[in-house]
Symmetry: C2
Subunit: 584 residues, 2 copies
């Protein structure tokens, strides 16, 4: 068996920051070298950040990426890292392909490059292009058709990119024919609730299918609506977990492995399953035997309670959205309710209390507890607040135009929205929208009112999850001996928009336990009316809720982005017509 | 030669209105039968409307479409139309395909059905799935692999769907092997400026390649951001134009053709280019000889001046967006400037003056002519107006929070936005946003201010095109002996946002002739900085404009939808990251 020390670098690149991303690779490669690694592997598209979306169709961007990866190879060598083979994801183009109607302009490819001895030794492109959910890769890339197998210190290691591990056939199938001892995939795999369990099982299955150990390196951090959790891991050829990095934290997972000696001469199979096997030797001579370090297996949160995992995903998403867009502080309207309380708490955990500004905007329908609960929240967390009176402005509008009913309710929300945006413009804070997924789904919000802002941290959380997260966060504080950050009254009181006297959410909506279950079945599983009724929901309720959801499409499109924690979020990748006369 | 009278039905379905769309097919089939047609062909997805986007992934929707098409076949027969073969586009599913990771759920297909004798005789699915620009069909459909050839009155007619005509290979290539006398494609082909010329040339080229006459039937009307122009046509096997329907109008194009006698027995080729040829005979016996009617070739607008064509596309888009979303009237803020003047004029042409409500919202920075020009516009077109004072509300905000600079400017725009939305809520009008493409591109607008509304009629028109369209509309009125609808002063005065004293657009932006040329090169052709400088643009200007464009991504996402008239519009199908540190 050949011994090998492999470094999987789960890092957090920024889309478009080619210089910063390459610097990050160099710094991390230094760490890998110091740790004695024989190979360092970085995530999918680490050079450009991921996902680049239609930037891939801009020729000058592809050229910049190709240039950057060559410069990176040279720089690694200049800094004394030329002997360490480094594999990075980058944006490449397929050369020698003419323009063809329907093909992405310039034939861009989602690629991996092997850097060694100051040069790019080998490139290979993703074969399976995901084109569902958040992914539109048929739009942006042309597929690759090779499996690179690199001989490092006498072991053969194959590389593939993300989706190639998930779909049947293609490069992963070719691994067995190539008789590689290990397969390492470069990933930009967005966080979804409980996906870590699926990911481990997938790696275990692929290991058994290919007869090779499987390494999985994933990025970290937030990019627009996506959150990457890391969770890089290695399983051996039997599918046993060997090493696993923590979630939501940058990490260098350095692991000593024993891999089969590379067959000599190399196997003849040059093609399998339509995939061309491309070989390159970095070093054929095995490492002298050494005592392996014990592998790291980062402790996992209790798999039965993933609430804390979701919470950390929301914190990560918010932190990076603010930072990567050049903001330092956020502004949140504190209503005393649970949505704004949780949003502010996430913001404090992400940015520190000194960067979170609370705004109290009571109107004449605001209850006393709306102010006291908001002040209590701010006091517990050290958030500075200001109070602005909404009523005089509402009255000034009332002098200009006579409004009643829903128009008058919406007006209050819009005055609040304008005050938030005015302070944002004046002082430079990013405004956080505090709507939850149940509201977004049913359209229970005001366009240009409570929906203003640059980011919406809990937009993919059902109301019932908002309560769970709040209770989890308080329990976590108690467990750490700290005071719970969220006032209990905000958690326990009945929710209300407070836009008219004695208003409660339950005036317009069913109880949230029932509503969320129904919404999750309609949106999360695409069930139609008949199936939902068959599942036991009241037909009149199903009809009413479906109509609410379908009619709110326009509002949802105008809502700010927010971190996705489910495959069926209500963000930009939910693609439905605005004009739609069909109700299932 | 076999004689045949073919009816191409360019109609305007509504997404999701299966019942209404099927009624439209039956009514139009009646007309075709009365006109003596031997075959009637409808557009792509006429049963469901197009595009259905992710509705295709909802099993109950696919089932409803399949059920509707069978019911349609039966109803046509019940109404005495059973002998007329009718071809319609509908949403189908590929049967016998198991779920596969990465494959659209339920294996939906964008299909065509031949209805005859009360039954669905044949179905076939689109082979080439467009996945660029406004299209995401890899996300929603699985491809088909058949070419249906139907024998009607002794002539063999092949059918294909939209993209299959545009891309090389596939069904169209199989037409020659099938020795069909004619190919008819069902289309949902969105309007783009000057695309009608491209479309005709494509049909001519395919006719020569396949040796078959080519019929092209396209839908009409607006659906969300898309506009369909009709422009259905027929070319003979030599590529000569035989018949052509008008643009932007529903029409039944009935044309007598002489087609080659169908080979007897049918050719043996059962497969070509990976496409299975599927044959069905409706009627083998030719029609008794008759004197053909002269074909219709609708007159085209002057090809050198397509401004009027764009104008009609904007009117069509607005009319259908309002109608299909259940609105009857619109509300427009009239500033006296050219953008609001053109928007109101389009609205009057689309909906009638009685359904257009003008709102004058002068502030202390508004010039005298801003009011007089707006009133003049309203008077010329018979639009009712109201004037609401913005300043007292702005002052009330000023009492609540101290604002200056850009924050104070934005506040005025947001007060206007809130007044518009309040009246919309109170009275039920759809608010039209009046921003143009140059503003959207550079971010020269206020979030939740001038950007509020449900639809933005001129968002895909550069400012220079806004002037052209206004002048064209006035010239058209003069040519018809009517008074020009747009005050000349609105066209000729220098543009200003009037948010501070003596403000002009040129304070912040270069001259629009130069700006629009540069923007069109950057956005329309994806050129990078170096190429733009090479084209002669000033490097400092290019850098500044690129930065403006890239930073305005978030604002653009929040902008209301509007009709697309170019392949590089700034709507929802421009997919770029918000967080992007790259400037080319």
């Amino acid at each position: 068996m050949a011994q090998l020390r492999i470094a999987l670098a789960q890092v957090n690149p920024v889309v478009g920051d080619l210089e910063g991303n390459c610097r990050l690779v160099v710094e991390t490669a230094h760490e890998a070298a110091v740790a004695g690694a024989h190979l360092a592997v970085f995530p999918e598209m680490v050079v450009t950040g991921y996902p680049v979306e239609d930037l891939a169709l801009r020729n000058s961007f592809v050229s910049a990426s190709v240039k950057a990866v060559h410069a990176l190879a040279a720089r690694l060598a200049e800094e004394g890292l030329g002997e360490l083979p480094v594999v990075v994801g980058f944006l490449n183009r397929r050369e020698g392909v003419g323009a063809r109607f329907g093909q992405p302009a310039g034939a861009p490819q989602n690629s991996a490059a092997l850097l060694h001895g100051g040069e790019v030794r080998l490139t290979s492109a993703k074969h399976h292009l995901p084109n569902y959910g958040v992914f539109d890769e048929f739009r942006n890339f042309v597929p690759g058709d090779t499996l690179p197998v690199v001989r490092v210190r006498g072991a053969d290691i194959a590389f593939a990119i993300c989706e190639d591990l998930w779909q049947e056939g293609g490069p992963v199938t070719a691994v067995r024919a190539a008789r590689a001892g290990m397969l390492i995939t470069l990933n930009g795999s967005p966080y979804e609730r409980a996906k870590d369990d699926v990911r481990l099982e997938l790696c275990q299955r692929r290991a058994r299918e290919t007869g090779a150990a499987v390494g999985y390196v994933n990025m970290t951090g937030g990019q627009d609506e996506l959150v990457f959790e890391g969770d890089s891991l290695i399983v051996d050829a039997d599918g046993e977990l060997v090493a696993r990095a923590p979630q939501f934290t940058d990490a260098l997972l350095v692991t000593d492995l024993r891999l089969p000696d590379a067959p000599d001469p190399a196997p003849e199979a040059a093609e399998a399953d339509g995939i061309r096997i491309v070989r390159h030797t970095v070093s054929a001579r095995p490492v002298a035997p050494y005592d392996p370090e014990p592998p790291l297996v980062a402790p996992r949160p209790d798999p039965l309670s993933d609430t804390g995992e979701v919470y950390r995903a929301l914190v990560t998403g918010l932190r990076d959205y603010v930072r990567k867009n050049g903001f330092r502080s956020v502004l949140v309207a504190l209503s005393g309710g649970i949505d704004s309380a949780l949003t502010a708490t996430i913001a404090v955990d992400a940015l520190g209390a000194e960067n979170v500004h609370g705004l109290l905007l009571p109107s004449k329908y605001s209850s006393d507890h709306s102010i006291t609960d908001a002040e209590e929240l701010a006091a517990r967390q050290g958030v500075r607040t200001r109070t602005l009176a909404v009523q005089p402005v509402v009255d000034a509008f009332g002098d200009a135009v006579a409004l009643d009913g829903l128009a008058a309710e919406n007006l209050q929300a819009r005055v609040r929205g304008t005050l938030l945006m005015s302070l944002s413009n004046q002082e430079g804070h990013l405004v956080l929208a505090t709507g939850n997924k149940s509201e977004l789904a049913t359209g229970y919000s005001t366009l240009y009112g409570d929906s203003v802002g640059g980011y919406a941290p809990i937009k993919d959380c059902w109301k019932t999850l908002v309560w769970e997260l709040s209770e989890w966060r308080n329990a976590q504080a108690r467990a750490e001996g700290a005071a719970p950050p969220i006032p209990e009254n905000s958690i326990t009181k009945p929710p209300s928009a407070e836009l008219r006297p004695d208003q409660l959410d339950t005036d317009s909506l069913p109880d949230y336990d029932l509503l969320d279950t129904l919404l999750d079945a309609y949106i999360g599983t695409d069930k139609g009316l008949r199936e939902l009724v068959h599942d036991g929901f009241d037909p009149a309720l199903v009809e009413r809720v479906i109509r609410l959801v379908d009619r709110a499409e326009y509002k949802r499109r105008q809502y700010p982005p927010g971190p996705k924690i489910s495959s069926r979020n209500l963000g930009r990748d939910r693609r439905l017509p605005i004009t739609n006369r069909w109700t299932p």
